[in-house]
Symmetry: C2
Subunit: 342 residues, 2 copies
DNA sequence: CTGAAAGCGCTTACAG
DNA sequence: CTGAAAGCGCTTACAG
């Protein structure tokens, strides 16, 4: 078996020039129908498909898009990827996928990698909020420089980078948490806790906190500092904090948990204390937890449809590739609050 | 800002030839220390990194590995990806990721795509069991031909393709299901059902069924055809079948559910019927369902560590790339049965 | 409608 | 230890 079929092989077998083969491959210039058919037949018969490396090199862009997410074993991002691929295939694009583990160095390395691959576009969930003053100035410089060097369009997913003129798609967490908090208040709760993350580090934490604070303020309720817990959106930390919360003498009667793992940590702590939700303490979490829903556990949540986010992000990117000069778009998805039992 | 820095720019700035720059980039031939340092300094200062397309074209292999999985929104595969990336980064490889949605056409398209990208290797979970007689002969031919054209090493993950001399890593589902069934029998159950998938289509279904049948036989128990349900490893189908099962007059007292979604569908049905596990009917599922575990729902399961599988698969691939001629390896992971409450 | 030639940005014998 | 030159497999002006 010959090594790898090249465009020259096809050209000679079809009795035409490489140029012509290239043209039918790319549907670029007009080729006489008879010629085209002949070439197509050979391509078909030989099962030829062009090398993407060669193609990328001469076109100066590849047929790939980059996807950078902070975690791959979080179903939230799995669903985003799933949404992305739904659209991707229709455009003959391939996904270069990297996970940064919420780590700055890996994030920068991924960005550099993306640059070298000359992707057509990038779907990006930054590992940290580089624009925040919390982040080291040097790291901010580096990320900005890399972002600038990636000539392809970039669409932000789920996490904002304020002040950078980029397309983006986000959930309106402020509204989601506001509505969730309000639901709790309407039910009569006044002592409401929240397990979130450090506001400096996470823009997500800020917008979620805002929804909470706004709702409390609108109801004339004070925001008690001691009812605010800063986790890291991971389960184990949330579990610890929840234990603390549950052990308080004057503890909250309801809690907002700010992502799926935070909710899991909370529920674990509640269960271990022999208590239950919502009998002993109420809870509304950010993100559906499918399994709980299914077994009728009455878990209340703010629903973020991640598959939808992935699809929309990819559509934004496709549009941006097609129309580079249109003003940037930021889509805000309104996440409904689903109350099973308060 | 200049368009894109090339190796020529670096060469001229450093006052050496492209060849020399290439050599320090690749650490290929020996370069005088002074020269190397000079070149390195320029690369550093200019923040240069070579185009991967150009590199791939001249080396005839890319710096990517392909990963083909059937689903991206199943946490099982999310965890596999997560395991893969843990290893990947250390080798400066990038992951091309595709999802086939358990669909033959998408699977073939992905394989073709992988071929064009000249990946260094492929981690592959086939959409269907191409070797089974159930699959159209023409499709089998096509997949075999594609697999053959991908010159890079291939490692199978989770789903076997019997008769093809490939590396692979799998869970010993036969043993897992055997032990689970035995646990049920030891507890006194004799009427045991199983929600699996069609045996012809799925090799996974066959090995799981075998574990079940073996355990029944070893216990001298008959395998009742009407207690065997063939779903499709998706939730909605399992839900339907479970409703049927629960409505049987002489129904099983215990059920084996053959993947995470099958378990979810079953639990949903049980819950909707106002019954509970294990009081009204016992269950052991394949795959942990983290959320249930956490809220103390006493869900029994056969534990498949998907992150571990991803890591090991990647390690197999790395080894195969390094030693192309060693005999192929097949790793069988023994999945423990975790019993919470029977 | 078609083809010869140059070029994309690297690597790799080959020569020195 | 270093460099000039050819080549990887495509695409794209340019010319006809």
């Amino acid at each position: 078996m010959a090594d790898q079929l090249t465009i020259s092989d096809i050209a000679s077998k079809a009795g035409v020039s490489k140029t012509t083969v290239s043209r039918v491959l790319n549907n670029s210039a007009s080729v006489k129908k008879a010629t085209r058919d002949k070439v197509l037949a050979v391509i078909q018969r030989e099962n030829y498909s062009p090398s993407s490396a060669a193609r990328s090199l001469s076109k100066r862009v590849s047929d790939t898009i980059g996807v950078i997410v902070p975690q791959l074993n979080n179903p939230f991002f799995g669903e985003i990827l799933s949404g992305i691929t739904e659209i991707l295939d229709a455009y003959n694009l391939t996904m270069l996928c990297m996970s940064t583990d919420d780590n700055i160095e890996k994030d920068l390395a991924s960005l550099a990698n993306i640059k070298n691959h000359q992707v057509r576009g990038l779907l990006y969930t930054p590992a940290v909020d580089y624009v925040s003053s919390y982040v080291d100035k040097y790291d901010r410089k580096r990320v900005l420089s890399l972002l600038h060097k990636i000539r392809a369009p970039i669409v932000l997913m789920d996490r904002q980078l304020k002040g950078l003129d980029l397309d983006g798609i986000f959930f309106d967490d402020t509204k989601g948490v506001y509505n969730a908090t309000k639901a709790l208040i309407d039910k009569g709760h006044t002592k409401i806790g929240i397990i979130n993350a450090p506001l400096g580090e996470w823009s997500l934490a800020r917008i979620r906190q805002k929804g909470f604070a706004d709702a409390m303020r609108d109801a004339g309720l004070p925001v008690e500092q001691r009812y605010i817990f800063a986790g890291d959106y991971r389960m184990s930390k949330s579990y610890e904090l929840s234990k603390e919360l549950l052990a308080m003498k004057d503890r909250p009667t309801a809690v907002i948990t700010c992502n799926n793992w935070t909710s899991m940590g909370f529920l674990k702590a509640v269960h271990e204390c022999g208590e239950s939700v919502p009998e002993d303490i109420s809870c509304i979490g950010l993100d559906r937890i499918e399994a709980l829903d299914i077994v009728g556990l009455n878990f209340n949540f703010i629903e973020r449809d991640a598959v939808y986010m992935g699809k929309k992000a990819m559509e934004l990117l496709i549009n941006r590739i097609a129309f580079p000069d249109r003003p940037k778009q930021n889509i805000l998805i309104d996440p409904p609050v689903v109350i099973r039992k308060l």
